[in-house]
């Protein structure tokens, strides 16, 4: 494996610890993200995915057991340079309407670069590039009101706001939920492009197994605050029983492959996406 960007080991976290409202969100979570990969963090609702994501850029800090090392910095240390860390880890939150806080789309996307203290021209350029990248034409959208955007547009705007920071690690918390199929494909293409052209590492947080099969190279499965499975995507997504136990299922293609296997037709190479299945089917049919 190449250089590790983020290493989380045996992390636990309880919200409102010490009060009657205490809620254990993580109890033994581990996660690795390596430079230049697209990784996925999956888990059923309430498994602690979002909580874990908040640790990645120091929004939450290790206060209980566990270790979080991000970009070579141990976050347990008191004087971590959080601003620097947050510049390198871009976090797109689950609910887009909660992370757009400026009145106009252009201003909102510019918030991060402005915080960096960049000169005006540079900010404008970054905003333009980021908005074009997510498919919101700069001229048409910069003066639109954020609250009047559609759900899908809000998602794109939120993503642009983080991209404008030019992060080295992009973390997307269910970032394609609510997008139509084309919007989803565009975001997927964008993520691959960012990785291939600019070397951005990506962590996708999702419970959409098809999306994960499509995008990710490595997968970590979280269940009730615990990391239960981790590994290469084909390896993890073929473990039907373990996934079911974690409240998840197989990708659609995986279900079909499994049904075929039950019927006595075994496809080569554990296909999990439509393209892989197509190839495997051709191979089987030809032989």
């Amino acid at each position: 494996m190449s250089e590790a960007l983020v290493t989380i080991r045996h992390l636990s976290h309880t919200y409102l610890a010490g009060t009657l409202l205490a809620e254990e969100a993580l109890c033994d979570a581990s996660l690795d993200v390596a430079r230049g990969e697209i990784a996925a963090l999956i888990g059923a609702g309430g498994a602690g995915k979002s909580t874990l994501a908040h640790f990645l850029n120091g929004l939450l800090r290790p206060v209980e057991r566990g270790r979080v090392v991000a970009f070579g910095q141990d976050l347990a240390v008191h004087n971590v340079d959080l601003a620097a860390l947050r510049r390198r880890v871009g976090l797109v939150f689950q609910y887009p309407h909660q992370q757009l806080f400026e009145r106009f789309v252009g201003d909102d996307v510019a918030y991060g670069p402005c915080q960096l203290g960049l000169p005006r021209d540079e900010v404008r350029e970054r905003v333009r590039v980021a908005m074009e990248q997510v498919g919101l034409p700069f001229e048409a959208f910069k003066d639109r009101q954020t609250f009047a955007l559609s759900g899908g547009e809000q998602r794109r705007a939120a993503l642009a706001g983080v991209l404008a920071l030019r992060p080295e690690l992009l973390v997307l918390d269910e970032a394609t939920t609510g997008l139509d199929p084309r919007g989803r494909r565009e975001v997927h293409d964008l993520l691959r492009r960012l990785r291939d052209d600019e070397g951005v590492s990506v962590l996708v947080i999702s419970n959409d197994m098809d999306e994960v099969a499509e995008l990710a190279e490595r997968v970590t499965v979280l269940f009730e605050g615990r990391t239960v499975l981790a590994g290469e995507v084909h390896e993890v997504l073929s473990q039907h029983e373990a996934l079911a136990e974690a409240g998840l299922g197989l990708p659609t293609v995986g279900e079909v492959v499994r049904a075929l296997a039950d019927a006595g037709i075994t496809l080569p190479g554990r296909p999990i996406t439509a393209r892989e299945a197509e190839e495997a089917l051709w191979q089987t049919l030809r032989s």
Binding site: Y15, T19, L20, H54, L59, R86, R87
Partner: protein, 281 residues
């Protein structure tokens, strides 16, 4: 904001299910007893009865088995306000209503007298009692029970055309929205933090924080309006038509403990009055 869950935490008066004696009281009893205790806190104007009311308040907190930290946190959150009030009162009060007593200090327009010192201390104790009392009702009563209590208490006024059910419902919705507002604010703070602002540091920190608060207000209200609209739609979609002819699964009933609670509240109010008159020189 090292730990943004803090924002949710300070929402004073979130329901805390400890199932204590106080929790099991009839909501009507709690509402009326609270009114009596608040009256006692307001009546108390001397050291001795202010301390007495504060003590009674603490007794209720203990009886309700609420975590002490919660009450302390609630008090701590209003301390700045109390401090500002106290200083103002101390500096300028000596010239006005509390000009009596012996003069302790006089400098320019500032005049500190023994009675203004007393007023400041009493005021502080009173505010602390009131803050704790304010949280007591909602942390021991579920919004549902509270709504029902208010509705039943207001029902006699229905003859005069007072829509008791609607008023109670409005109150309940307002209460319900408080923690939601807290969570919403938390989300926005997180989103701002995530995009590159670390902890503002240095001498302009106060200013930077104030600026941030201002930046919070617009998205917060936009979201509240959206939620309110959605809620109204959801109520209409489920054929909500007000309280007329509505029955409820749980009926309210007074029990012996309620009589005890009333007796306690009356005792505190009586004590505050009696101790007050006795204490006047």
């Amino acid at each position: 904001m090292a730990n943004a869950a803090f924002l949710r935490h300070v929402a004073i008066g979130r329901y805390i299910p400890t199932d204590s004696l106080v929790h099991r009281l009839d909501p009507r009893t709690k509402l009326l007893a609270l009114a009596l205790l608040v009256a006692a806190a307001v009546v108390a104007a001397d050291y001795i009865n202010s301390v007495f009311v504060l003590f009674a308040t603490v007794v209720v907190v203990v009886l309700a088995r609420l975590p002490a930290g919660q009450a302390v946190a609630a008090v701590r959150s209003v301390l700045p306000l109390v401090a500002i009030l106290a200083v103002l009162q101390l500096l300028v009060g000596g010239r006005g209503a509390t000009a009596g007593g012996t003069q302790l200090l006089s400098w320019g327009f500032i005049r500190v007298t023994s009675s203004s010192v007393q007023l400041v201390i009493v005021l502080t104790l009173r505010l602390i009692s009131l803050v704790i009392l304010a949280g007591l009702l909602t942390s021991t009563t579920t919004p549902g029970a509270l709504t029902m209590g208010v509705e039943r208490l207001l029902r006699p006024f229905g003859a005069l055309g007072l829509p008791s059910h609607e008023i109670a419902l409005m109150g309940a919705i307002a209460l319900r929205f408080l923690p939601i507002l807290g969570e919403q604010m938390e989300a926005i703070v997180l989103a701002q933090d995530a995009r590159g602002v670390g902890q503002p540091a240095g001498r302009w920190r106060v200013l930077a924080n104030a600026q941030r608060m201002a930046a919070l207000v617009v998205p917060l209200f936009a979201d509240v309006y959206r939620r309110a609209e959605e809620m109204a739609m959801a109520m209409l979609a489920r054929c909500y038509r007000g309280g007329r002819g509505r029955t409820s699964l749980y009926e309210l009933r007074y029990r012996p403990a309620d009589a005890g609670a009333f007796a306690f509240a009356l005792l505190v109010l009586g004590g505050a009055i009696v101790l007050g008159t006795a204490g006047v020189p």
